[in-house]
């Protein structure tokens, strides 16, 4: 247990290296505007801060320390050069409202990235504005809405979403003012086309689809689905979070999608940062171009310009005060240039090879696959319902026990369709040794579950902390540390 930084704080301690020693008067600001008590920020030395956060960091599992096969999240290696270059002064020091002329270097990188993303997605235009996958979805659905609105096609008030979809999909549709209609999934993992056909129609604004889906399989009837939706006047939204599976092999635009988002923090390896920042650029087909969000970056005879709402009258508008997560886009650009044309396809090849290898070996080891006769894409689902029935050991228990053995757990209990599920995504950057180690750990746990289930049910045992009480966390809500001594007067 590491003491809270507040518990290491002593009133009156000043980190002098960060201090401006002058006495600065505030005599021109009337008292009514001023703060009377100091905020409860830590009063620690530089060394205390460095030590505290260094030690905290060591409590994390991360890509740089552990295999992290979190399904749907594409936890692949983050090349260190991306971090270095994004922090170059010229890039990191420029003010977002400075004239375009002072940012030609950055803008050229971002423009290049747009071109690369257009090509791999097979779309006609790309906007880099959205700051994460969910905002990319929002952007896409808002554009679909703007498109229908522009044509006065007002009756379309539903977005169709397969029941296997990521939670952001339905949540997004609602944020855009749509009703959500779920489409069931067949036992083989494909969308139930008949069910889709039954609901698609004049009220359909669009369909959101992830392909490969979050079930770890490729939707084989994607062309038929596209035709169904298009024929009914709806548009197709592609959730590109799983692009790692098909990068350089299949272009979503050619599957028939009208708009897609890409999760650069997944496929393009920008760091996940303990929960972001990400970047969720959108690509669109011709007919949606006018609606793209601003700002947009365009090029003309070697000069890069940022377009605003006044240049793009039909734009759905702005998604952030400035230019989205520019520093993340820069990292993605660097990554894309490192991979290059051939490297793209190799990502999909090896992400798929690793997933299928793991799937084959785990299957041989006796684990049950949710979609047995399907190819794994870049990920696959294993269900531990048999283990649970026989030993009482749940997917959650397996997950915690994996931590003990030095592996981050796969995504658990998502997608919700599959009971006791593990969504496993090894990514292309993991080595065979690491995969074999993981397989070994799974086998060990399986054995432990049979022989000493309590050991597994009470895992983890080897971490700095044992299993946490989530129920208490929610019931006896404690989300802010309270200084028992109260705020200090200034």
């Amino acid at each position: 247990m590491t003491k809270l930084i507040f518990e290491q704080s002593t009133s009156g301690r000043i980190n002098k290296a960060q201090f401006l020693p002058a006495e600065i008067p505030l005599d021109d600001i009337p008292d009514v505007f001023l703060r009377k008590t100091s905020p409860m920020l830590p009063e620690v030395s530089e060394m205390q801060a460095v030590r505290h956060f260094t030690r905290l960091s060591q409590l994390n599992f991360s890509i740089d320390t552990h295999f992290y096969p979190l399904g749907s999240c594409t936890m692949k290696h983050n090349p260190r050069i991306c971090n270095e270059a994004a922090l170059y002064d010229g890039f990191s020091g420029r003010h977002p409202s400075a004239p375009d002329s002072t940012g030609q270097g950055l803008l050229s990188c971002l423009f290049d990235l747009q071109e690369i993303l257009k090509d791999i997605s097979g779309m006609n235009e790309v906007s880099l504005a959205p700051m994460a996958g969910a905002q990319g979805e929002f952007t896409g659905i808002a554009m679909i809405r703007a498109y229908h609105d522009a044509r006065n096609d007002d009756a379309r008030e539903e977005i169709l979403v397969p029941d296997a979809a990521h939670g952001t999909n339905p949540a997004t549709a609602v944020m855009c003012g749509y009703k959500v209609r779920e489409i069931p999934t067949l036992d083989n993992g494909d969308v139930d086309i008949d069910a889709l056909a039954a609901v698609v129609g004049p009220r359909t604004a669009g369909l959101m689809l992830t392909n490969p889906s979050t079930l770890g399989v490729f939707e084989r009837q994607i062309r038929e689905i596209a035709t169904l939706v298009h024929d009914a006047g709806g548009l197709l939204y592609y959730d590109g979070a799983n692009m790692n599976a098909i990068l350089g092999k299949v272009k979503p635009g050619e599957m028939g999608f009208d708009v897609i988002h890409l999760n650069l923090h997944k496929t393009f390896s920008t760091p996940h940062g303990g929960g972001g920042p990400g970047a969720g650029p959108v690509g669109v087909s011709e007919r949606l171009i006018p609606f793209l969000p601003v700002p947009r970056i365009v090029e003309s005879s070697g000069q890069f310009t940022v377009l605003d709402k006044k240049d793009c009258p039909q734009s759905i508008g702005r998604l952030s005060c400035f230019m989205g997560n520019a520093g993340i886009l820069l990292r993605a650009w660097i990554y894309a240039r490192l991979l290059g044309r051939d490297g793209m396809k190799r990502v999909a090849d090896f992400a798929t090879l690793n997933a299928n290898y793991l799937k084959a070996k785990l299957e041989q080891a006796g684990f049950e696959m949710a979609y047995k006769n399907r190819r794994a894409t870049h990920e696959f689902i294993l269900t531990l319902k048999k283990e649970k029935a026989e030993t009482g050991v749940t997917a959650m228990d397996f997950a915690k026990r994996l931590l003990d053995k030095g592996y981050h757990a796969p995504t658990t209990y998502f997608p919700l369709l599959v009971p006791e599920c593990f969504l496993i995504e090894p990514t292309e950057t993991e080595s065979l040794e690491e995969l074999d180690g993981f397989i070994g750990a799974m086998q060990e746990i399986s054995k432990e579950a049979a022989e000493q289930p309590d050991l597994v049910k009470s895992a983890p045992h080897n971490l700095p902390i044992r299993r946490l009480d989530d129920v208490r966390a929610a019931r006896q809500l404690d989300v802010v540390w309270k200084n028992d001594l109260g705020d200090s007067k200034k």
Binding site: L4, V50, F53, A85, G90, Q135, A171, M255, L339, V480
Partner: protein
């Protein structure tokens, strides 16, 4: 180039285990006509030495200017330890702390962050971040509307950053929410209380109050808050976190304090980076916690009764609640929050207070120096924090590029957003601006204005 470790031998061994001959076979469920490996617009691979060279060249092109713009993003000193520690692999390359036991570092840090933000804003709770300031305001608006049920109107003063207004518009408009403008006084540069009095009717869910406002001026937050509360309206405060070291915390505005507080976290240790990644913060009253979007970390205990931290109230979020979630947000701005937490810890309350005071004093000094120039005047008479609007008797469209050529980014011109301020410039001098730099600015501005002075202003 790529980061794939497989050797030919290993590939073969793996294909054997799967029972196929070639990797291509693994894609055999994809309709053949969809396979397209042509990538004409993706350049060939570079190695690291090559991309470093290229990135350096491009970065060298970019802004080593002296910057006098604030307007929503501020150039403050960032202690060296902030990014050296934030980019440690364990922070940099982890993801959302779903497995709490293997993520105590990130979780405890986020709990500490929430505590710091709550205290800074004077609110009861804080979430663990949103994308950035403007979209955080949009989320606050949606949250207010949810909390206020039937009410669909939001009062948005024109003194809010135009980018916040536009972003909020984009995000909330599809849900039928109406953003009503409140104009500002041409004298004070703050919300026009008279118009507000008229607009603030029963159907208003919330009043948005920026402090300091876009013009740098200080709003009468106590009166505004009380007025809003009297009319059954929630108050959404939009604040600069650094200013809160000296300005009254929103939790103490008026009699009851603001209900929701949002803002741009960038001033807390995040580099300008042409606009991002930054992070949005959001704090609110305990009462509204279940309406709050975004992640929330709670302190709890483990099986041995030891303190630990975990994601909590996840039932508000999209991955559980799906279409009924408080927001679609999933990935947020974790790394930026890590940096901000380090920043606040390294600076401490005294350090941030000095930054706020020095930025204020520097802007005063800058304004003094610039208004000493004939044809340059202060526009509004309110006290300001660290930004100020100046009217300049010279063609603004030419002024900015001319100053840029001299290495000075003069400020944010207001003509695009405020017709009546077409000849005005919003300037800012943080603690990093030196007097010499201000003198350079003043010298060039003086030259420009004397050369380009408009006829009889």
């Amino acid at each position: 180039m790529s980061f794939i470790p497989h050797t030919e031998d290993e590939i073969r061994q793996m294909l054997n285990a799967i029972g196929v001959d070639r990797i291509d076979e693994l894609f055999d469920e994809i309709p053949a006509e969809l396979i397209n490996e042509k990538l004409d617009y993706v350049p060939a691979a570079m190695n690291e030495a090559g991309i470093r060279r290229l990135s350096r060249q491009r970065a060298e092109n970019d802004g080593h200017h002296i910057n006098f713009i604030g307007a929503g993003a501020y150039e403050h000193h960032i202690p060296a330890a902030v990014w050296q520690i934030a980019t440690r692999g364990e922070f940099y390359s982890a993801y959302t702390p779903y497995q709490a036991e293997a993520s105590q570092g990130t979780l405890q840090l986020l709990y500490e962050y929430q505590s710091m933000m709550a205290s800074l804003t004077g609110m009861e709770v804080s979430n663990a971040s949103l994308y950035e300031g403007a979209s955080a305001l949009a989320e606050a608006v949606l949250m207010a509307v949810r909390a206020q049920r039937e009410k669909q109107r939001i009062l948005m003063p024109e003194t809010i950053h135009p980018g916040y207004r536009e972003t909020t518009e984009t995000i909330v408009k599809n849900q039928g929410i109406v953003l009503s403008s409140i104009s500002y006084s041409g004298i004070t540069g703050t919300i026009d209380l008279e118009q507000l009095g008229k607009e603030i009717t029963d159907d208003v869910a919330a009043l948005v109050i920026p402090q300091p406002n876009y013009f740098g001026a200080l709003e009468a937050v106590d009166e505004l808050t009380n007025l809003a509360h009297e009319r059954g309206c929630l108050v959404i405060a939009v604040v600069n976190p650094v200013s809160l070291a000296i300005l009254k915390a929103p939790g103490e505005w008026g009699d009851k304090g603001a209900d929701i507080v949002v803002g741009e976290g960038q001033p807390l240790g995040i580099p300008l980076s042409s606009g991002g990644p930054y992070f949005g913060f959001m704090c609110c009253t305990q009462k509204l916690i279940r309406q709050m979007p975004g992640r929330l970390i709670g302190r709890t205990v483990d099986a041995d009764g030891k303190q630990g931290f975990a994601l909590t109230l996840q039932a508000r979020e999209q991955h559980i609640r799906r279409s009924k979630a408080t927001s679609n947000i999933c990935t947020n701005q974790g790394l930026m929050v890590t940096a901000a937490t380090l920043y606040m810890s390294l600076m401490g309350p005294a350090g941030i207070e000095q930054v706020a005071k020095a930025s204020h004093a520097n802007t005063r000094l800058l304004v003094e120096k610039l208004t000493a120039i004939d044809g340059v005047d202060v526009v509004f008479n309110s006290p300001f924090f660290h930004e100020c609007v100046l009217r300049i008797n010279a063609p603004m469209e030419d002024l900015i590029p001319a100053m840029t050529v001299q290495g000075v980014i003069a400020g944010k011109a207001l003509f695009a957003d405020y017709a009546d301020l077409h000849d005005c410039l919003l300037v800012c001098a943080t603690e990093l601006r030196t007097e010499e730099e201000m003198d350079v600015y003043a010298m060039h501005l003086q030259r420009f204005v004397s050369k380009h002075q408009l006829e009889t202003p």
